[in-house]
Amino acid sequence: MKLLIRSPKKENKQLTIKALAPVSLYRLSLKVFGGVMQPVVKEGERVLKQQEIARFTGAFPTRLHAPVSGTVEHIDFASDPCMIIRNDYEEEVAELPDYDPEQLTAGEILQRIADAGIVGNGGARFPTHLKYRLATEKQIEYFIVNGTECEPFLTADYAVMHEHTRQVVQGIACAQRVIGAVKIVITLEQQNRELKPLFEHCLADYDLPVRVRLLPDTYPQGGELQLIKSVTGMELRKGTIPADRGVVVSNVGTLWAVYRAIYERQNSIERVVSLGSTRKGIGGNYLVRIGTPVEEFLAQALPDRTFPAEDVLLIEGGPMMGHALQSPHQSIGKGTGGILLLSAVQKQKDNCIGCGYCVDVCPQKLMPLEFARPAVLTDKRALEQYHVVDCIECAACAYVCPSDVPLLESILKGKELLRM
């Protein structure tokens, strides 16, 4: 059974990107892929827009920059490490290096990407310069541009591809100077095929070994492993580094950030976020600065300026793999593709009827229903035999289950058991 999930994507994708007005306070999370960043500024210090405020050194180095000019009000190292910056509304920008983008060498491009703090836009936030650097050490056959935004409701990537096609292409060209792949494939969902001619028109001005491919609208077609198979025919086991097999996958949002870093000398301080809801009238795509508290985002993005009711869930990310926010004070991060307002669905937790729908939709070819059985969930050998670690936690199984069996919860519990 191919999983097709309906959502108001068609309406939402047509809404042009609106830039959010600056807000009074920015809350920047210091958590990154692999750990917590160290601040390079102190409390009380004044910072300029684009200035570096935190850095992570180690296996996955990256940087954070101030989205506005203002004062560092507070640095918190409690359970949720973050830095709070109070906006002085002067928009004073830190001096940025001067150079000719066309004259940069591959090494210099990589350095600029690292300095700009660019991380994967798709949610994982893996440092982009590291991914490309790993690629330079291998022979890359496929550079896959991931434009397959398969999560329901989300249209942020679409908006960027639609309105800034040429810039995305320039970003791809830059990345290609580093990666040097034999083939470049831009992937799009069938439902977004109107983007194909837009891309091809821009690509005509470049001498790149690129083609645009349309892929089915099924979920989760945009998952890295499934995408790689659809494009290259190779089935990579979860945990394999794609570069080891000659593949690099990069999100279109990330490539747009690469363009902005190289050509507009913009550090990674803002991104496009889509607003989604089952209620009509709530939607849109917004250019939001990193660190904008969600309540401020909603204050500007919701039509009647009223905050959602008690039983409405506030979700960061998509409805399938995102997570419900504990409080609206939490903020937009570099990996936030969407903010959703959804009514809480009832979960009854009935008996498994053995229908096997979960087995049908699992992209990793696992049998999710087995993990919900107590006999398997408490048995390490059984968990290994059924390959619970290969689950990519896409939640397709939990979505399709007619009995609301707690499949994802069981899988997470199983994974936890194996870690012990």
Binding site: M320, A324, A344, K365, A395, A398, P402, S410
Partner: protein, 366 residues
């Protein structure tokens, strides 16, 4: 408040919807049954449904255990109707009520409720009827139903010149011999197609079963006449073998399951079992469904299984031997008239199992 987990959207498919679709699929057959046998058929179906619902309601309250009562989801009605469709219209209503109640009790409730059953509930009910009312349920007199017929036959295809062809085609659409569900191949086929389109069943089990059976019939055609009912086989293939909890959970397993049911059915036909061949074959394969699921576990994404191929083939071979041996054993028991003892042993086994196993949580994440 416990944090709610992703996903935050849900499909509209629920168990009740699935049951409703199955009931809709059974509707043509019910209508045809009433056409053929009038009030007799209607009363049988109503009795079965009533008895099933009552048993489920009473059972849910009386039986201890930590599972959820599901009498509102329509599954009791489905079981009752399917049971009726395997019975002769001459079956006494009291026995029908008994069968439906047993189907719910021993085919569903004592296994832990909906989804827990290892065996097809309707067939369990039927075998209980055969075990506890052997005089009534066996013998050719049960099937001498001409006197109860309501509408004898159709002449719809007579505009085709050929006498045999129009007779055959008429027979496909409507005939009055056999169990309640067997009168119209067309009705069964329509029901099956409906379920396939709605994705409530997949084609794997019925296809594997029917292809194997047809191939077997063709191969064995010179070895003597095989007496079977096409309607019975089709009905079982589409509605009985596809019962979700009692069939394997992965596609390859389902194909093997369908093939084995076909083979075992042919085996029973060859050993002269006249009426119970489908019930027995499905119940036997039900018993092995869990093993089949495990054996046919799909290859996970990107996983390369070194050298396990031969191991799996060996296990497959041994499993096939075990299934065929079980079939021969049942065949012998039937010949000597001991099949009712299987049912008695089953009763003891299930009661003990229920008493000692079902007091723990259904899911550990509660």
């Amino acid at each position: 408040m416990k944090q709610m987990m992703n996903p935050y959207i849900k499909t509209k498919i629920t168990v009740t919807r699935i049951m409703l679709d199955v009931l809709l699929a059974l509707l043509p057959m019910a209508v045809v049954a009433c056409l053929a046998y009038g009030y007799t058929a209607l009363w049988m179906m109503l009795t079965a449904m009533g008895s099933a619902l009552l048993s489920e309601i009473i059972g849910s309250f009386l039986l201890p255990g930590k599972w959820k009562p599901s009498f509102l989801d329509g599954s009791a009605l489905v079981t009752a109707l399917l049971l009726c469709f395997t019975l002769s219209p001459k079956t006494p209503l009291l026995v029908v009520a008994f069968g439906a109640a047993m189907a719910i009790l021993f085919g569903k409730l004592l296994w832990g409720g909906l989804g827990g059953n290892q065996f097809n509930p309707a067939l369990v009910g039927r075998e209980f009827m055969a075990a506890f009312f052997p005089a009534v349920m066996s013998g050719a007199t049960l099937w001498a139903t001409k006197s109860l017929v309501n509408i004898p036959g159709l002449k719809g295809f007579s505009f085709f010149g050929s006498e045999t062809f129009s007779h055959f085609s008429d027979g496909l659409i409507y005939k009055t011999g056999g169990a309640l569900g067997e009168y119209s191949i067309l009705a069964i086929a329509l029901g099956g197609l409906f379920l396939l389109v709605r994705q409530r069943i997949s084609w794997h089990i019925p296809f594997a079963l029917l292809v194997t059976f047809a191939a077997g019939v063709w191969i064995l055609q010179d070895t003597g006449a095989l007496r079977y009912s096409v309607g019975g086989v089709l009905l079982s293939a589409v509605f009985m073998a596809t019962d979700m909890p009692s069939s394997p959970n992965n596609r390859m397993g389902q194909i093997y399951y369908g093939v084995m049911i076909g083979i075992v059915t042919l085996l029973f036909l060859k050993t002269g079992i006249r009426y119970e061949y489908m019930s027995y074959s499905i119940l036997i394969l039900n018993g092995y469904a869990l093993k089949i699921t495990t054996l046919f576990q799909p290859r996970a994404w990107g996983v390369v299984e070194e050298g396990k191929r031969w191991n799996k083939l060996e296990n497959l071979f041994l499993l096939t031997l075990r299934i065929l041996s079980t079939a021969l054993a049942v065949s012998a028991l039937h010949y000597y008239g001991f099949t009712q003892w299987l049912v008695f042993v089953f009763v003891v086994y299930l009661v003990l199992k229920f008493r000692y196993s079902y007091s723990k949580a259904t899911y550990l994440t509660d």
